[in-house]
Symmetry: C2
Subunit: 305 residues, 2 copies
């Protein structure tokens, strides 16, 4: 007797949030050899040899360049990533980083009540312009937050198709027009050949001196030595980074000693809460798979997102 429920393997370890999501959506948990679907919540290292019977692989991260580099992504089945699942978390963290920088929370934490330099360095988000480079799911969550804070948004996306809530949307081919028009920059684009070192000596020079650069995307979007130079010289006001290149920065990296830098350890979307956040999206994709509907976050073949 066959079981009509979708056979799903969750590897390399059991996770209660995802088990519950799969079962609620009409699946059952099985081993890899029996499965039609693999939910892989481990690293690229250790990714298993896939039986041909696996029709769909669900990955738990939004950026999957590690899996692409490891050569595990093939064209024999559907692959989904978690693009958009964690957008609200990451948007909230981007806002926290930007406000912490503008409001001098980092300097306040280390320079106890050294009032005058802190007081004069405080800047307001309200009345400012913020450019979001890579305006997808994170931007969709971030823009209403920025607008409610009295900031105007310039969105940059691939197509230039107007983004809800943005005052201006530009296609990525016109990214260079952004730097002189904005007060601050939030990086939310995937790591690709085109976005590699998007923030570099030239673009840093085009930003205003009061600019904060926030990176919640991927470290390689920033030429880190150019950033250090710009922060050291005061060419820009500060950088707030949840991602770096490499991660973590070396113990003696000058980033650690610059006063106008905030580094959080890649926790915009905390690992410890990942599967809980992912669970309802996985359930939705199981339902769609069973119904034959278009799934969420299908990986574009040949791309890393």
């Amino acid at each position: 007797m066959s079981d009509a429920r979708l056979a799903v393997a969750i590897e390399p370890e059991r996770d209660e949030h995802l088990v519950a999501a799969v079962e609620e959506a009409g699946g059952r948990i099985v081993g890899l050899e029996e499965a039609r679907v693999l939910v892989w919540i481990g690293m690229p290292t250790g990714f298993p040899e896939l039986p041909d019977t696996i029709e769909w692989v669900a990955l738990k991260t939004a950026g999957i360049e590690g899996f692409v580099d490891a050569g595990v992504i093939d064209d024999k089945r559907v692959w989904t990533n978690a693009s958009g699942f964690y957008a609200e978390n990451v948007a909230e963290h981007a806002l926290a980083l930007l406000l912490a920088g503008l409001r001098q929370i980092n300097t306040s934490v280390v320079r106890h009540w050294d009032k005058e330099p802190i007081d004069t360095a405080v800047r307001s988000l309200h009345g400012s312009t913020v450019a979001i480079i890579g305006a997808g799911g994170i931007a969709a969550s971030l823009i209403p937050r920025l607008n409610a804070s009295g900031a105007r948004v310039i969105a940059v996306n691939r197509s230039g198709r107007p983004v809800d809530g943005a005052a201006v949307t530009l296609p990525s081919s016109q990214t260079d027009e952004v730097w002189a028009q904005t007060d601050h920059v939030v990086l939310a684009a995937p790591a690709t050949a085109e976005t590699q070192h998007l923030i570099n000596e030239r673009t840093l020079a085009a930003l205003p001196s009061h600019a904060w650069v926030v990176n919640v995307a991927r470290g390689p979007l920033v030429d880190q030595s150019a950033l250090v130079a710009a922060l050291h010289s005061g060419q820009i006001a500060g950088a707030a980074l949840d991602v770096t290149d490499p991660e973590p920065p070396a113990h003696d990296d000058p980033l650690w000693s610059l006063p106008n830098v905030i580094i959080t350890p890649h926790i915009a979307n905390p690992s410890s809460g990942l599967t809980r956040t992912m669970a309802p999206f996985l359930a939705e994709n199981v339902r769609r798979y069973l119904a034959g509907d278009e799934m969420l976050s299908v990986v574009t073949p040949g791309s890393a997102y």
Copy 2:
């Protein structure tokens, strides 16, 4: 020949932003002896003996308990403070403090990429409930920011009259109902006998253990030794304070060494930008005074706000 323009003294020092505001609104700058209006941008100490010819005194701060305590406020003329003028600045800072705490920016700044404890301590503002105690002008600016961040607001004001954007409004007589219903608390009430030590051993015990307490109002609203005890024992998750009692805290105050505390040096509304922010409000009040209209932020006789 008399000059029809309103004679305004700005003391104890000239300020270009305020001079421009007064002149633009139909006033002229004179010395104290000639003036009908005094704009006092100094401290309570040094406040001058007022000639009877002064009809209106404009103070530059929202909280004026220092002037009340110094006995300079009389009932011979109109007094205005700056209540509401800086609300947007303070609301922005309150949001920055709350997000910095929830997002572990303070621990990240001092514990370089100590990932695991930071990752597991990160909390989200979205999906949480935030109580604002003293829901006036600051709350009016803060509530849309919190709502856009996916948080639900409980507002507490004197009358209990529903506050726009709050899910629930309670009168201050029912403040004690708030603690167990909220995730986080923002203090935005004036310093009065009723608000003295509003956060104390009892109220801290009623808050959930994941609560952050944000104070952008006045230090005396918090029983600081009770707060230190609650932070030390983990009874609440953290405190983010722009104001303390005294200011600054003593060099050896335990607040400085607790990892779950953020202290900014009373810069929610930076002194260095005060008169620039105040200028358009002063201009508006000069216009209203000349027109005989109701003025902004008239001090209630016998109160400190």
